[in-house]
């Protein structure tokens, strides 16, 4: 676990050593800020609903951009060999990189705290859904990080890792809007897979075990699949 934390710290710093971090944060804030405030005054409601509602789609883009380099780059420059011959296990590597990405997402969300603060000055803001929204955003980010990390473990090409990660995250986000293609018997199953539905529940301020279990499962499956891929490379 000590090793995992050291890897996490190193990976977290690595985000800020390359321009990736600054570009991703800037684009994220620009996109969410623009969409949020462009409708905020029209709706005339003191709530962050519209901000949180677009997070799943934005994250489906942004998170794979953060995870794409985590393993693919190591394979590509060969540093994976130096990493694995240090006294670390697969679990340390995977957990370290995953936690670094989650920490980065948390750092990325910090500036958006300006939105609820601004809104609360303009009207009376119900802080319950805001807290729920941020917890949900972190869980969603963590789930997508696990998926993105898996995508990054499949290839040494970062672009492929990004596209595969984005495709899976998009699938998880939008599946509940594609349900009309599916036979009725499978509807319930597939709507339960939709990340957006679970995220929306938490963002309402209702923390339900079913939603927590959903995110925990996606994280676990993503990390476990990564583990299998790394072991098959051994």
């Amino acid at each position: 676990m000590r090793q995992a934390l050291l890897i996490c710290r190193k990976e977290f710093h690595a985000y800020f050593l390359s321009p990736i971090a600054y570009i991703v944060i800037a684009v994220f804030l620009l996109v969410t800020g623009w969409f949020f405030f462009s409708t905020f005054f029209l709706l005339n409601q003191a709530s962050l609903r519209s901000f949180f509602m677009m997070l799943p789609v934005v994250f489906a883009f942004v998170v794979p951009a953060l995870t794409m380099r985590l393993l693919a780059e190591e394979f590509n420059i060969g540093s994976y060999e130096t990493l694995l011959t240090l006294p670390v296990g697969f679990a340390d590597v995977i957990l370290g990189k995953f936690l670094a990405c989650v920490a980065f997402i948390a750092a990325m969300l910090v500036p958006t705290l300006a939105y609820p603060i601004t809104v609360s000055m303009l009207g009376t803001l119900d802080w319950g859904p805001v807290a729920g929204g941020y917890i949900g955003a972190l869980l969603l980010g963590a789930a997508f990080s696990a998926v993105g990390l898996f995508a990054s473990s499949l290839t040494r090409n970062q672009i492929i890792a990004f596209i595969v990660g984005m495709a899976i995250c998009f699938g998880l986000t939008l599946i509940n809007q594609m349900l009309f293609f599916l036979p009725r018997a499978l509807l319930h199953f597939f709507s339960a897979l939709a990340a957006e539905v679970h995220f929306r529940n938490i963002a309402k301020g209702i923390i339900d075990t079913r939603d927590l279990v959903y995110f925990a499962s996606v994280i676990f499956i993503g990390l476990y699949a990564t583990n299998l891929v790394l072991k098959s490379r051994y």
Binding site: Q3, L6, I7, K10, H13, A14, L17, S18, I77, G78, S79, Y80, E81, T82, L84, T85, L86, P87, V88, G89, Y234
Partner: protein
């Protein structure tokens, strides 16, 4: 102490390493010598726990690698081929990260990094990013990385590739110094390097060990005999063979080339006595004109060429 038995690795249908045996004792430098693609890197990758062997056993100190991979990784320092390191980190930050993972006592960390900086000559690049370094400096940073926790076993994959001659000499000195107390295995395709640095050499070719013995023995066994070349003008091949073939110390005399009155001969010598004085005396008694007379010491190079010749 490293003990490798029957180590085999298949990639798909290709057999990269074929049932090799190796032993490296403490205080010994073992050179793994072979042409490109012989299986050196694959062997080292299995030793360091990066690749899983298809068959065979690896034992380092008292640990078998499949039972205690982390314990082995903890006592083993490894420099992979061409030192792949994180491009965008500072050298100092990178070494500090490695020190952390290797569990170097935090109070001693700075001191250790400074020591290694001194030893590997990288103190002046500590505050540069790794991507800015030349290949030689990258290699040295890699070496510092491998030696961070003062490992008992040091595995180096072509440690001198890409270095200039001065740096090569320095790195060899470092390897020799470490090799006095620790076990060092390094791979190379440069023969003079193995000759100059290793206590023992294992020659690997197409995944098989074709020779494994002390450097001096190997040279002696396969190439200790000297070879003499003589070029004579105004000579007859038959007369040359008759006159010089009987000198004590000549194992075999062969006319290599005849070009008009010019005769070139090659002589394989027995280890003793030295036939040169007598050869000279005999040539002096004739009317032949001596144009060239020199001795070639057969080096490991010749041995290597002989052993790895395409069958």
């Amino acid at each position: 102490m490293i003990q490798v038995e029957n180590l085999t690795k298949h990639y798909g249908g290709i057999c990269a390493v074929d049932r090799i045996h190796l032993i490296a004792r403490q205080g010994e430098i073992l050179g793994l010598l072979g042409p490109n693609g012989a299986g050196k890197t694959t062997t080292l990758r299995m030793l360091t726990g990066f690749l899983k062997p298809t068959a065979g056993s690896i034992r380092i100190k008292d640990y078998r690698i499949e039972d205690h991979p982390l314990k082995i990784k903890a006592i083993l320092g490894y420099l992979p081929e061409s030192a792949p390191l994180y491009h965008d980190m500072l050298v100092f930050d990178y070494l500090q990260y490695v020190a952390g993972i290797r569990g170097v006592d935090p109070a001693r960390r700075l001191e250790r990094i400074r020591e290694l900086g001194e030893l590997c000559g990288i103190n002046e690049v500590m505050h540069q990013t790794i991507s800015e370094l030349s290949k030689g400096y990258k290699q040295r940073v890699g070496l510092a990385h491998a030696m961070m926790a003062d490992p008992e076993v040091l595995v180096l994959d072509e440690p001198t590739s890409g270095l200039d001659p001065n740096q090569i000499v320095e790195i060899r000195e470092i390897i020799k110094r470490i090799g006095r107390e620790k076990t060092v295995i390094f791979s190379t395709h440069i023969l003079s390097e193995a000759e100059a640095t290793c206590d023992r050499v294992a020659i690997i070719h197409r995944g098989k060990i074709v020779a494994d013995s002390r450097t001096s023995e190997l040279k002696e066994r396969l190439g200790g005999r000297n070879h003499i070349r003589i070029t004579l003008d105004q000579a007859e091949p038959a007369a040359v063979e008759r006159d010089l073939g009987t000198v004590a110390g000549v194992a075999r005399l062969k006319v290599l080339e005849q070009d008009g009155p010019l005769v070139r001969i090659g002589i394989d010598c027995t280890p003793a006595p030295d036939p040169r004085p007598e050869l000279y005396r005999r040539i002096k008694q004739t009317n032949w004109v001596l144009l060239d007379f020199h001795q070639e010491a057969r080096t490991l190079e010749a041995v290597f060429r002989e052993l790895t010749k395409e069958a």
